[in-house]
Symmetry: C2
């Protein structure tokens, strides 16, 4: 049986990798930022917009899609690709993260996790078998195993038990998974404990997946702790397979995890910022509600090649954002997703040309420096 | 001095006219539905979307733009065209209608009308001179005179005095208007009184404008009353100039005013319906929240040529609308504006081919018939 999703490493710069991810719905250059299409839509954007932006893998949330509109409907529509109109690569999470971060009540057992819906309080149970079947119905190119994301502050004992249960769940996911045209990725847990991370990694790799994710980070720990743990895990993951860091999407964070050998990452930050009227620019994060943009007729980011920066002024965007106009939300989402996509393109070029370290240091210093000096958020 | 906006009548079918409206920002085939871009944006759509749809004239609301972001900023940005990125024909109203329909308090005098802002309660005064200057700053292809839209239930005496003051205001607008590249349209008032309408028409035409609008209708009277009054006014307007009926945008209404000789009309209905999850289709108005659409994998309107109908299913649109996703709002706005634009194109063809009466009767019967039989809203 051929492997549905593979990665070919085109260049290395230290641990950083420039690759080509191949999926049944096309290839994606890595490292790649994956925009989040929570409920089957990347907030306000069409698939056509995403194609124009050059987006690679689009992420869907199994938790939300399972509850609304339901996997049966999506399956009957021909899968998430046909349902949403996005014909490029797609990845679904298992829903586990949302169960642990959103649900008011949950109860974990060996069998799975019982939780209440954020929509109507109804009771549901995710088992490894169910989330695997649901993801097969959704039909993304990559499915994820069901894992537990332990609460912040959980102790060593909790993490040890949790990662072992997660490994047993991963094994059940592997056994339940049958779609030949869909990859299944394992997830390494273990909190901030280096040895537990190692144990989780070994157990997960032993089961054998088409790719590996690092989960349970970027959930409240300091950035230093996060990077330290990731540095211990990422380079140990199988070199010939894709590596996915779950839940990072700020420009600096992305540039910090890439040199640890990560190929893929996702985060709602760029789309969520847009909802709040904020934009990512080469000079730092800015909020269009800020008074200084009211009469500013320059482009949002003069160096950016997106439609928003080509066609509109800061003053117009500021007006739209102040008036809560949908177009403002849309144009900022477009820009922020483009910005992250383009940042990854630049990072890849730097890796290929063997100058990642210097390039990323300069980039970060400009991004954070201007932010401090002008009081941007 | 050459006239900035003209109409050339290509064909007549009874009183119905198929024309070509020429403006400094391009030509538009008439009859034409003008989508409303209240605050400098047609809710959720980009100028590129509007071009793809084939939209003709886009309307801007002086009341809103005067208060936010202010005419000085728009002027400094190069006018509403440059500010918003829409480079096609544009029309601004005088703001009068909003003053009379939105403001909590207002005080009319011979000089103008004092009102409080819906945004912050601040006090403002619109005079004919001011609204003309503001519209010159906004720089649309067509500006409108300041008129009073009397309260519904106003008596004959009120209407008589009001239309005479509106005529005096129109004269002051005419005198104040100086932009050679902008047309100024007069507005006929007079309520439901045929003789007062006649008087208003005569006074307005006597002043002399580049085009004429019929105002103060579609404001609560019955459809029959509206059509009766319009039938008495529209055909009497100068035949060689554009005729604009203010405030109609439902498909049936549009098809009813076209045979009275109207060339242009505007209404927020198609964009407002989209906000509420409703769509216009050949078979009637439908609401995507309706349970029958949940699993319906057919296009929204199988006969429609818009992007929404080409790329998405009713089930997906229904999902987006139920989840209050911005993309749902966007795709329905796109469809509804396309629908009205296309309806006008079909109406024009029927006029040119001399079959308007039969065509529109069939169209209306299908639109309203299917609605009744299937319980659509």
């Amino acid at each position: 049986m051929s492997v549905p999703v593979t990665i070919e490493i085109a260049a290395r710069d230290g641990e950083a990798r420039a690759g080509l991810l191949r999926t049944p719905h096309g290839g994606v250059e890595t490292p790649t930022f994956m925009p989040v299409g929570t409920k089957g839509t990347v907030k306000s954007l069409t698939p056509g917009d995403l194609r124009t932006i050059g987006a690679g893998v689009v992420l869907g949330n199994t938790y939300h899609l399972y509850l609304r509109p339901g996997p049966d409907l999506v399956r009957d529509a021909g899968g998430l690709h046909a349902f949403t109109g996005w014909d490029g690569p797609m990845l679904t999470d298992s829903g586990g993260y949302q169960v642990f971060s959103l649900a008011k009540t949950r109860r974990i057992s060996e069998d799975g996790v019982e939780f209440t819906s954020i929509y109507d309080g109804s009771l549901h149970t995710f088992t490894p078998e169910l989330t695997t079947r649901v993801q097969e119905d959704l039909g993304a190119d990559v499915a994820m195993v069901l894992d537990e994301c332990p609460p912040s502050g959980a102790d060593r004992k909790y993490h040890a038990e949790s990662l072992r249960r997660t490994a047993r769940w991963a094994e059940r996911c592997r056994a339940a998974h049958g779609r030949w045209d869909q990859a299944l990725f394992g997830i390494v847990q273990g909190g901030l404990f280096a040895d537990l991370r190692r144990e989780s990694l070994e157990r997960t790799v032993e089961i054998g997946f088409d790719g590996y994710a690092v989960g349970g980070l970027s959930v409240g720990e300091s950035r230093e702790e996060m990077l330290q743990v990731l540095a211990g895990v990422a380079p140990q993951l199988p070199a010939e397979q894709p590596r996915y860091f779950m839940g990072i999407g700020d420009p600096v964070g992305v540039l910090q995890v890439i040199p640890l050998g990560v190929d893929m990452f996702d985060c709602v930050l760029p789309t969520r910022l847009a909802r709040h009227g904020a934009a990512l620019t080469a000079g730092g994060r800015v909020n269009l509600r800020n008074a200084r943009f009211r009469r500013d007729l320059r482009p949002l980011d003069p160096e950016c090649g997106c439609e928003t920066c080509a066609d509109y002024s800061r003053a117009y965007l500021s007006h739209l954002v102040r008036e809560d106009e949908l177009l403002g939300h849309r144009l900022l989402t477009l820009h922020n997703v483009y910005f992250m996509t383009n940042l990854c393109r630049e990072a890849r070029r730097a890796i290929v040309e063997g100058r990642y370290k210097g390039w990323s240091r300069n980039w970060i210093s400009r991004y954070t420096g201007e932010r401090t000096s002008t009081g941007q958020i």
